[in-house]
Amino acid sequence: MSNIPARDILGKFLVENGDKYENMVVLSADLSLSIKTDIFAQKYPERFFNFGIAEQNMIGASMGFAISNKMPIVCGFSLFTTGRAWEFIRLACHDNLNIKFVTTHAGLVGGDGSTHSALEDLSLMSCLPNLNVLVPGDNVEIEKILEYAFNTPGPFYIRLPRGSLEDIHKKDFTFNPNSIDIIKEGNEINDICMIGVGSGSSIAIQSVSKLEKDLNISIKIINQSVVKPINIKNFISRIKNDKCILVIEEHNTYCGFGSIISRIVSENCPKYIKTLGIENSFGQSGSRIELLDYYGFNYENIKKIILDLIKS
């Protein structure tokens, strides 16, 4: 049985915290039913604003709310929010405004296809100064990250998938942006450190025991929900003993998390690093299972990449 979809966790979190964050306003661009912000709208109609299908105006307005001491939560699909209104977001970050952009439908989206996939949003968001970019790895972490973001002033981008995430944490998990979240311990020195972002973490977990057995290697897995800003000192201290790194992310490989980490690793403790992401594509229609398989998020391909890494 699959988990509760990410958007339901978001909708529930918003409505349950309406009283706690009195200055919170929730903004939508005709997608409140799709993203489940409608339950907040029902309970707090005076603090919910639907701008219609007008992402730029929604985000422009969020800036006005922010300089008027409100905490706008901007909810939309990942692509339309980050893509259509990018320059608005840039200015919001430029002025370090307290706006939380929480989007769903990141990565591969299934039937909707290439025009709706969001495989570029981390590139668009990670280049913006001041912006915190966070990608929860499972449902527990979605709640913890929302809580952290709501309690921390400044702009945040929180990236959620269309569907559900597999559990990778225990219920008592706590989120700390500075600590490195090791979800599978390895040895003192490991042949491979797999670093998952979002759905990438559970993909790593699913293949790890078979990989260790089949290849007779030791593997550690980090769930790296913090895309930006990364605590470089702590990060490097946790990967410095591992021989090679494999990043797994549901994003394109041009300028995604893999690129960010490759730079940090090469500048601080060079070692072989590869990224499993979506190569040179805008995505396409298909079931999630078919698409993940097609783009190489499968056991055989992960094994092949790891063999290449080990050889090098």
Binding site: N57, D112, G113, H116
Partner: protein
């Protein structure tokens, strides 16, 4: 163009048959947008069948008229019409949204199939149509550009940027058609982001405005003809339609905006449409 009563009935039956295909496509895909595909099918079909100059054997023909489905989520409606007029093989329709299919969830540029440009992110297709209309003027070509917009889509700022540009450049070769079904994703257009007085808005932007009953075939044809014979101004046809039309439980509701029918619903829908076809044919 006068059409006979028989022709009118034939078109009505064709439209209902296409609706059955759309429902089957979305049902088999188990995802997609039935409401806004059913609403606008009469407009797209009559455009391709009676109005536009196109040639499915020569999709690159330079002088062809251009259709842009700016409300790209109605892709099943476009695909079903493109199949009816010879661009897409009928059996391919039922690969909609499936892995490896040319028929993506939203239109993806493929001239052989008659798809001029990718759409799905609302608002963009309309700007594209402005560029096509300007280019046709530049080339002194007597071709028409048609863009189909959702009424919710009109919320996007770029729609009004494009509307300004079209009248500024006196694009009388551009015809915008609005599927005024009154419902968008979250609810009624007037509740979510009020559009009325819509005709006045377009008039103020310098457009020739025609309002039609989008379920009346003669009205549609007359509307398009008037639009094609308008000079020095772009024309917008505001077409009053019903979201999910001809399937009782899909009509006038946001419920089936982005939700496929299940098997039982699909079967009821087909039975309802078949009944209507019989009624019209009994009358033929």
């Amino acid at each position: 163009m006068e059409i006979s009563q028989t022709e009118e009935k034939e078109l009505s039956v064709d439209i209902l048959e296409i609706k059955k295909e759309i429902l089957k496509m979305i049902w088999l895909a188990q995802s997609g947008h039935p409401g806004g595909s059913l609403s606008c099918i009469s407009l797209i079909y009559i455009l391709y069948k009676n109005i536009m100059n196109i040639d499915s054997n020569n999709p690159n023909w330079e002088d062809r008229d251009i259709f842009i489905l700016s409300k790209g989520h109605a892709a099943p409606a476009l695909y079903a019409v493109l199949s009816k007029v010879g661009f897409i093989k009928k059996e391919d329709l039922f690969t909609l949204r499936k892995f490896g299919s040319k028929l993506q969830g939203h239109p993806t540029k493929n001239l052989k199939l008659g798809i001029e440009i990718s759409t799905g992110s609302l608002g963009m297709g309309f700007s594209t149509s402005i560029g096509c209309a300007l280019a046709a003027k530049l080339d002194n070509k007597d071709k028409k550009i048609f863009a189909l917009l959702g009424d919710g889509e009109l919320n996007e700022g770029v729609i009004w940027e494009a509307a300004m540009a079209a009248s500024h450049y006196k694009l009388d070769n551009l015809i915008a058609v609005i599927d005024r079904n009154g419902i968008q994703s979250d609810g009624s257009t007037e509740e979510i982001m009020a559009l009325e007085p819509l005709a006045d808005k377009w008039k103020a932007f310098g457009w020739h405005v025609i309002e039609i009953d989008g379920s009346n075939i003669k009205d549609i044809i007359n509307g398009f003809e008037k639009a094609c014979n308008t000079f020095r101004k772009p024309t917008v046809i505001i077409s009053y339609l019903i979201k999910g039309s001809d399937v009782s439980f899909m009509e006038h509701t946001k419920k089936y905006h982005g939700k496929p029918p299940n098997k039982e619903e699909y079967e009821i829908a087909i039975t309802e449409i078949d009944k209507q076809i019989k009624r019209i044919q009994g009358d033929l």
